[in-house]
């Protein structure tokens, strides 16, 4: 009886091999023959096309090359890369998508959707906006730092993991969620690429899927404190000759009809002081405290007003209008209100003193 089962099952499978007439596996993932690329960089190409480039081979001890293609479609680039390079490029390990500022200003939706619907591409793909010419930077660094692509990825991963406030690192999923959720604004980190340098600039805000503006310097730091990470490892304030470190923030937002009170509690410690005050003296330290407070209040207010002008609300203040029992506001209604809001910014800074008073 047992043999009969086996025979009939074999016959059954045999029949299906004949019917379908093809081998089940089409993809070849032999590791020696593929190049699982780590990043794609997308720039404005000629005649409205995209110029996409990547570095191959990743993590193999072999001379690295930068491949560039001018294409209409993203995946077309993926195909063309295969035609000019001896390894097949695979997207399974794609970790970063670097998009030029000019492309981002026209809207990212079509590009992002391509990657979103691809089950091979991880939702943890980092999205980065580039100012300048990333291709030139990579090309220039090829000999000096052969594994640069991998190290860049490690950098993003490092700062994403613990949310230390250095950079706003955003992955594909978070961007998509912010893009589709009402009353929230997608944002991405901006890096400036020169021939020799690759520098973090700040945070870019999006209206729908198009890049609107960038917050950099102190604006970006305040953004990290108020919404993204609620933590800053270091906050140097050169105008007060002071560096405050290990800052944690608690933000309370109270919305009224036409005004919003933003109350921020900060806890941190002075890590460096090069000014004239004697910060070991309690009274002078309090004075410094007040100065930092005024400084932050002023810049926060400025940042909020800038955001009003840009018509974006990346701090998600609009979400504070939501309650469990009411219908949420529409994006349009909130934006209307957002532009009219008067802000009242208050910082309550608690910076640890250096010496205990006896």
């Amino acid at each position: 009886m047992k043999r009969n089962y086996c025979v009939s099952l074999l016959v059954l499978s045999g029949v299906f091999i004949l019917i379908t007439g093809c081998a089940p596996f089409v993809e070849n993932n032999r590791i020696e023959e593929i190049a699982p690329v780590i990043f794609w960089s997308i720039d404005q190409g000629e005649e409205g096309r995209l110029s996409i480039c990547t570095l191959v081979p990743p993590l193999v001890k072999e001379k690295k090359r930068l491949l560039t293609q001018n294409v209409h479609l993203l995946k077309e680039g993926g195909k063309l890369f295969n035609l000019i390079y001896y390894r097949e490029l695979k997207l399974g390990q794609l970790r970063m998508l670097l998009v030029n500022e000019e492309v981002a200003k026209q809207g990212l939706n079509s590009l992002i959707n391509t990657l979103f619907i691809d089950p091979e591409v991880s939702p943890r793909l980092y999205l980065v906006i580039i100012k300048g010419d990333f291709e030139a930077y990579i090309q220039n660094q090829l000999d000096k730092q052969p594994n640069l692509d991998y190290f860049l990825y490690r950098m993003f991963k490092h700062y994403e993991e613990k949310h230390q406030g250095e950079m706003s690192i955003v992955n594909l999923h978070t961007f998509m969620k912010n893009l589709h959720t009402p009353l929230s604004v997608p944002f991405l980190p901006v890096f400036k690429a020169g021939k020799e340098s690759f520098t973090y600039e700040g945070t870019a805000f999006f209206r729908h899927d198009a890049m609107i503006a960038t917050a950099s310097g102190i604006d970006d730091q305040i953004m990290q404190l108020l919404s993204n990470d609620h933590y800053l490892r270091l906050l140097p304030i050169p105008s007060l000759s002071v560096t405050v470190g290990h800052i944690r923030s608690k933000v309370r937002i109270k919305l009224a009809d036409s005004s919003a009170a933003v109350n921020v509690e900060l806890y941190g410690r002075v890590e460096e002081y090069r000014g004239d005050k004697d910060i070991l003296d309690h009274a002078e330290a309090t004075e410094l405290n007040d100065q930092i407070q005024t400084y932050l209040e002023k810049h926060t207010l400025e940042l909020l007003q800038k955001m009003q002008r840009w018509k974006v609300d990346p701090l998600e203040i609009g979400r504070h209008t939501m309650t469990p029992f009411t219908k949420p506001m529409s994006d349009e209604a909130w934006l209307e209100k957002w532009q009219q809001l008067k802000f009242d910014v208050n910082y309550d800074i608690d910076i640890q003193p250096f010496v205990e008073k006896k």
Binding site: M1, S8, S13, F16, P24, K177, T181, P182, K327
Partner: protein
């Protein structure tokens, strides 16, 4: 041809098997898609409410459990409905069964095809699941029911994977607002129907009664199984809302799978593939047990249920089922409208069987008892 003994009863089953059976049949396939259809946070309450309704329905099921007639199997059915009546009912039952089998297997295989083997011909995947299912089914009803404990152990722990989604930075309380419905549309009703349909499955236990044997505290075990399922639904759905937000959620085809994809593990990068692969235990189990029911039903319809089963008949019905499956996959499931049509059909049929079968059986039993008096 030798006779085969698919339907022998050799041993009694513990009540815990009922818990496993109820729970796993309720976690079959729809639960993987549920979030996409429910979308809004207020559906949390719908899950709780429908779960409670299902509990009420299970009281009816447990009443049937204590009936001597159903314990007798085919003989009991004949006493209940008469010979012709059983044949007609079995015929109708076969239709429900076949749709359930097809949607479960094809739906699962579509997921595997989409995520794990996109370049492979999906018929191969279906064939492999079917072969596994046939192997389990050929071991007989007793062993298939026993197999559910392996299935439970292999798949139950996966619910633990959703816990990271309940903590920041992913979780934000605003994603759960508004908690009350601000508008109630036709879609919301369909969501409720989907939950009910996903909870269907325990009604099939009624035909397994001859194997499960007389259970003393059947309601207790049925309720535990149902409660675990509802808790799992809630965890999965709330996690999905926190992860996607309700406006992005309906853009995801397989929300549970996409959520697991987001997790990172230092050892194994694609936890989602592990999850999809382990889910095959459940699909194979469901397929084999439904397959045995199907074959048994087929024998009743053909009027042969009292004769010893023959291998030829079993193999022929296997081949026929395989052919139907592959043809449906080629013609219907691969197209968008076809998939939706079959899904919709199964949502309605599943809901219908769960609603009607227990009360129908109970009514028939009561009527019989009254006639006896």
């Amino acid at each position: 041809m030798k006779a085969i003994s698919l339907y022998n009863k050799t041993s009694a089953f513990n009540g815990i098997y009922i818990v496993f059976l109820v729970n796993r049949l309720q976690m079959l396939y729809f639960v993987l898609l549920q979030a996409t259809f429910l979308v809004y946070p207020h559906m949390i309450w719908a899950i709780v409410a429908v779960g409670a309704l299902s509990q009420i329905n299970l009281i009816l099921v447990s009443k049937c459990f204590s009936s001597e007639l159903l314990l007798k199997g085919y003989q009991g059915y004949v006493e209940l409905f008469g010979k012709q009546g059983v044949r007609i009912l079995a015929g109708i039952g076969l239709l429900f069964l076949i749709v359930k089998i097809i949607v479960t297997v094809l739906g699962y295989m579509e997921m595997v095809h989409y995520f794990v083997f996109p370049s492979m011909d999906s018929n191969w995947l279906i064939l492999s699941v079917l072969l596994l299912g046939y192997y389990v089914a050929a071991k007989g009803m007793d062993n298939t029911i026993r197999y559910v404990s392996i299935v439970f152990l292999c798949t139950f722990w996966m619910i633990g994977l959703v816990f990271p989604f309940f903590f920041p930075p992913i979780a934000s309380i605003y994603d759960l607002f508004p908690l009350v419905p601000t508008s109630w549309t036709f879609q919301s009703w369909k969501g409720v129907l989907l939950i009910w349909s996903s909870l269907s499955g325990p009604e099939y236990l009624l035909v397994l009664l001859p194997w499960l044997g007389k259970q003393q505290k059947s309601l207790k075990y049925l309720s535990i199984g149902n409660a675990i399922s509802v808790a799992e639904y809630l965890l999965l759905f709330i996690a999905a809302i926190l992860f996607f937000g309700s406006h992005y959620l309906d853009k995801s085809k397989f929300p549970v799978k996409s959520m697991i994809r987001y997790l990172q593990s230092p050892i194994f990068e694609r936890i989602d593939i592990l999850m999809v692969s382990l889910h095959i235990f459940l699909v194979v189990f469901a397929f084999s047990i439904f397959m045995l029911m199907f074959y048994g039903g087929l024998r009743i319809v053909m009027g042969r249920s009292l004769q010893p089963g023959k291998l030829t008949g079993f193999v022929i019905s296997l081949i026929a089922l395989t052919a139907v499956m592959i043809i449906l996959n080629e013609w219907i499931w691969k197209g968008y409208t076809g998939t939706n049509m079959l899904l919709e059909l199964q949502i309605w049929l599943g809901a219908l069987t769960y609603l009607l079968v227990p009360s129908f059986f109970l009514l028939a039993i009561k009527r019989k008892e009254r006639l006896k008096l």
